[in-house]
Amino acid sequence: MRTNLSALAAGLLFGMGLMLSGMTNPGEVLSFLDWSGVWSPDLMGVLGSAVLVSVIGFQLARRKQRPWFEAGFAALPRKTIDRPLLVGNLLFGLGWGLAGYCPGPALAGLALGNDEVAVFLVAMLVGGLLQQWWARPQNDL
């Protein structure tokens, strides 16, 4: 129960943050990614402020034996910088720069009267399932 409520609360904060930060506007995302014209640095501020909070929070968590409502912290298996990491993130970035959506903002767009995200999300689901079928053993995060 407390696990589920925590997840819901974190999701609500996350969704509000995505909306307020401008991440749900793919035009804003693209004007950040497009360095050939007038560059908009706003999203650097989003990542910067989010990472500032998360660095503090995750470093504080290192002193804890366990989270508040679960037996332990989730294990993160893969540690090395390997080929799937590089290729996967290359493909992800190429797709991100095409339409301006990464997964979180695309989901958030479902509540914003933005019809495009439905097409994007179906394709994203198919792409991810194809990858999982292609390479079964190793996935994390």
């Binding site: 696990t3 589920n4 997840a7 819901l8 974190a10 609500l12 904060l13 996350f14 969704g15 943050g17 995505l18 909306m19 930060s21 506007n25 035009g27 693209l30 990614l33 497009d34 050939s36 989003v46 990542l47 402020s49 990472v51 909070v53 929070g57 995750f58 989270p67 409502f69 679960e70 912290f73 993160l76 540690k79 910088i81 799937p84 990491l85 290729v87 996967g88 993130n89 493909l91 992800f92 970035g93 190429l94 797709g95 991100w96 720069g97 959506y101 990464c102 695309a106 989901l107 958030a108 933005n114 495009e116 179906v122 198919v126 991810g128 399932l129 990858q131 996935n139 994390d140 995060l141």
Partner: protein
Amino acid sequence: MLTKLDPASHWLAGQVAGVHLFTLAGGLLIGAAAVLLYHAIGRIAGVSGIFFTGVKEGGLWRWLFLGGIVAGAGLAAQLWPSLNIVNRPNPGFLILTVSGLLVGWGTRQGGGCTSGHGVCGLGRLAPRSLVAVLVFMAAGIFTASLLRHWLGVPA
């Protein structure tokens, strides 16, 4: 970004400054959400990972987190309707589909997305995630710049 101001743009500058504050506040909320999820239940707030694991293995907390993202964005759009904008033309079915396929495949293969590698991975000071962020940022900059200026796709 405004590069030079004339009196008529002061109003606009104020609007832009306002948006910057929302931008930072939004980032702080995203970071707080990731920290909350980790401290409360020990999970990484990576949207692609939670989404695809939720599809494969279920888990109510995963769908509550994802549903919370949708609801939270909707709530913020009700509270600040002027921020709910999409200021670029619809890129069309083909681009949306190719983009979605790449993002789905890439985030699975690469083990995370902007939230998992960006917000959480950088927060955990994980070298893997720093590499991931540099690679997907560079690739995103490449396609966005290529399409919008060199190939003249309207933006």
